[in-house]
Symmetry: D2
Subunit: 140 residues, 4 copies
């Protein structure tokens, strides 16, 4: 199955770094989510559209493997792939590289669609599935 | 008028520091708010109690003067004083010191009580005023 | 004296918001600094250039006045003006607006140039002064 | 092999929450690290001791599984176990529960000891190994 990826770029701000002079490891998860947000925006929707339908998108798993540190001023390129598209959840994978093309980090998020009121997992709305499908490596 | 202060302590975490090896200046505002939260908790209420009444507590002004940097592992003592207690707002001042007693920062927050729906400023609920009054330097 | 301003734009990420559904007040100080960083980059230098000369740029004062809340997805436009350029310090002012042109926040930072080793304030390097001058409202 | 765990508690601050009204998923990694910091402090050392020896502790893997959301004001209890103690690295696991005893999150960090200059992994200093060993589930 053919599949496309989505890319977003972020300049490392000073506040993203810690006393070791590198981007704090927790901030990669923030770059992941900012990429996810830009990806949805590119597809024509956002978190607010889920809220309006009484839904939200809790993360159920988050993982990151760190290869090389990023520092202040680096331009990070984050590549997102929809690894798995399931009935009620999706697994998004992320690759973070710097301008020199060095791979800095690899990771993923497993995100479920849930009803805000009950907390129960529910089906991804059809119109959203349609927009995600062209980016999905696997539709399960 | 006699007046008491409230104190809270926070250990500086590594993530609070930046690439200059000191606590990032924006994080003092987070320590201010965490002190405010502990102060309210000490008085028997919290932000959630405001939300239940359809109210919230937007900050309208925030100021901090930095005297000396704080570093990883420092135990910060933050002292809060209710500088002014008005009908619809309060001014809280903060002093941040380290364990050695060095003054690190001074600042204040001006907080207004507002209706969440309309955004309009409204009176501080009476029971809250009663609990804040003993800590107020000035009641206007 | 004629004087120019510098503008930078930032999309509000979900992590920038808090439980009140608006951008946390401390994050405006992060947007201020990110604007400062882009301004310096535009002028051809960055924080790292100061570090290489044994200098750093501690903030000595930070202030923000909040007019209207920003929410998730807003595109913030931050306008920076060099209010005062002194021998050893500068005062930068910031205006934050949303896409609709609503003024959301106003603030400033007073920044000093200091020797990293001794902590003492020192003169702003001449080449930096030259690059800041065209943007300065007042040179003192 | 007998093995002990270490526990630390953290009050959820308002700034820890996001627009969904729950603790932002990236902040669990900050609670993990703050627990790690308190654990080291309990054992009599900290990140600064590593820096003084020319070492640092980059994270090479970070994982978290989210079971139930935490909200503003919750008192989080984080339990740390040294899952694996190797020559140059350690795997720390974390369990996060609230006051009611609900399991909120499970995760781990893989941390390596590296030379700050070269970036190369190196042996965990012997005195540190001795202090970690009583908490280690597996010594490899």
């Amino acid at each position: 199955m053919s599949q496309s990826s989505f890319k977003a770029s972020f300049r490392v701000a000073f506040v993203d770094t810690d006393g070791a002079g590198v981007v704090h490891y927790s901030n990669y998860f923030r770059f992941f989510e900012r990429t996810e947000e830009e990806f949805y925006k590119h597809l024509g929707f956002d978190f607010t559209d889920f809220r309006k339908r009484g839904l939200w998108l809790p993360r159920v798993e988050a993982f990151c493997q760190y290869k090389k540190p990023a520092t202040y001023g680096d331009l990070l390129e984050v590549e997102l792939v929809v690894e798995e598209l399931k009935e009620k959840s999706a697994k998004l994978s992320f690759k973070v590289a710097n301008e020199a093309g060095d791979l800095l980090a690899l990771g993923y998020l497993v995100i479920v669609v849930a009803e805000k009121q009950t907390g129960r997992a529910t089906q991804i709305p059809k119109d959203i599935v349609e927009r995600l499908r062209p980016f999905a490596k696997q539709v399960l």
